[in-house]
Symmetry: C2
Subunit: 252 residues, 2 copies
DNA sequence: CCATCTTTGTGCACGCGTTCACAAAGACAT
DNA sequence: ATGTCTTTGTGAACGCGTGCACAAAGATGG
């Protein structure tokens, strides 16, 4: 769902399905909240509700990690927090670089959720000489000329790209050449990467467009059921779109 | 994938699979780039390469929209841009509100990708009285007391939540009560919404954790193949994790 | 008008993910 | 101990998504 180009053959890494991996952080967050409230154990039903998933799915997910529950009781919160953290690799330190310190890059640098669990902003990099030397989120921005050195000196394997789309691909290539093997891409571009490099993308514009699609559909259905037999002429699934010609309802 | 809690029964809205809908924006972006270069037609193979997907998948995706291609030639770029835009509902104007004008909210407000296609930032809302009245991205921030009025006056149906996690749920509820039916959530929280409301979430922390998982796996495999027969003792899939045992805490 | 060549549109098979439903396992009381 | 009750762990069925492979369709040239 996130890799740029690679046909990931459903990488069931060590037997853990990708879909399960994507949910583990969700469980971890819910468990951490319980842990802070000193709740000792939790049932699959309760935890599933907190994470917003089906309880059977949650149990199956956990079964891939091992048998960490106790029948008749539930799961030990602390123990599960540890197991999931370890499984996700959060027991170690992950230095991360952010490339492209514009509005978004700066916002991410300031984002608290970073340091919280295993991740540490090792460096901020920008191509603008004006930016170099400035402090953002208490970290000095460095010039992209030194990108390779920064990566190797800090042992960085995860890079975050928040550059304009035009330069994202070349930044990506430099990151990969320097040793980065995981990339989180915020630029609205499809990144091509060699095998062995993971890319996940976050794209505001795509998310909005998906929402708009469903929104339009809702409006269309609503109009359809309200209109009743009025639009009996252009019926069936042949109609080209819910909005027809006149938006009829909604925004001014 | 994105909905907070609702079991969306694979909402194949009007016969278009959800997975296809999620790729349409990708195609649209690639097509727009071609259009700007005045490319008249494009084959499924070329477009698929540009969008980073399989060409068969692309053709099947388009087949859900209709038969818009010409065999032996390909697809008419302009026509396809229009068809996909219409399908996604981008031919109409979507006023959007952003709630929570911190670093991230401000960054999104400044983000150019917003206005580009159908979306318009109708209002910025924040709970801090200090923020109200200030200009962000050329828009005056309004206080959250007026949230309901802002939503209804502007006919807003899409809301973006960039508040701290603690207040995200209640902001969400106010948005929904005021008439918002699509929510893009950047707060690290599971949102509960009534049926009929779509929620998509963007979560930096989760994305990083997924990357960390794969990163750890890569490192493990590497070490494994390098170490060779060294770790012959605790082998097989029975091993509890890369960092051995020391469970630290066991369930009481 | 026919042959050839390109490219679409899709039938089909396969695999992943989800969910149901239930047997097995353990806690707890008597 | 034994029975009851709760909750896990999982076998099995089903549906969605993906990709192969090919026939149909149309363009193009002779």
């Amino acid at each position: 769902m996130a890799t740029g180009r690679t046909h990931r053959p459903a990488t069931r890494s060590r037997g853990i399905p990708e879909a399960t991996v994507a949910r583990l952080p969700l469980y971890l967050r819910a468990l951490t909240a319980l842990s802070e409230r000193s709740v000792p154990t939790v049932s699959s039903e309760e935890l599933a509700a907190a994470a917003g998933v089906n309880s059977a799915k949650l149990r199956k997910d956990f079964s891939y990690l091992g048998s960490y529950g106790t029948r008749g009781v539930g799961y030990d919160v602390e123990y599960l927090v540890y197991q999931i953290s370890r499984e996700l690799g959060l027991t170690q330190d992950w230095p991360v670089v952010i490339v492209g310190i514009g509005n978004l890059g700066a916002a991410l640098a300031n984002y608290g959720g970073f340091a919280s669990r295993g991740f540490r902003v090792a460096a901020l990099i920008d191509a603008d000489p004006e930016m170099a030397g400035k402090q953002v989120a208490g970290i000095t921005v460095q010039h992209s000329d030194d990108l390779e050195k920064i990566i190797s000196d800090n042992g960085v394997s995860i890079g975050v790209i928040t550059t304009p789309p035009g330069v994202a691909q070349q930044v990506c290539e430099r990151l990969v050449a320097a040793g980065v093997t995981s990339i989180l891409n915020f630029a609205p571009t499809v990144l091509s990467v060699p095998d062995g490099v993971d890319v996940r993308k976050v794209d505001l514009s795509i998310e909005l467009q998906i929402l708009a699609f469903h929104e339009q559909r809702k409006a269309g259905e609503e109009a359809e059921s309200q209109a009743g037999a009025v639009a009996a002429a252009h019926q069936d699934d042949d109609e080209k779109g819910p909005d027809g010609d006149v938006p009829a309802v909604m925004p001014a």
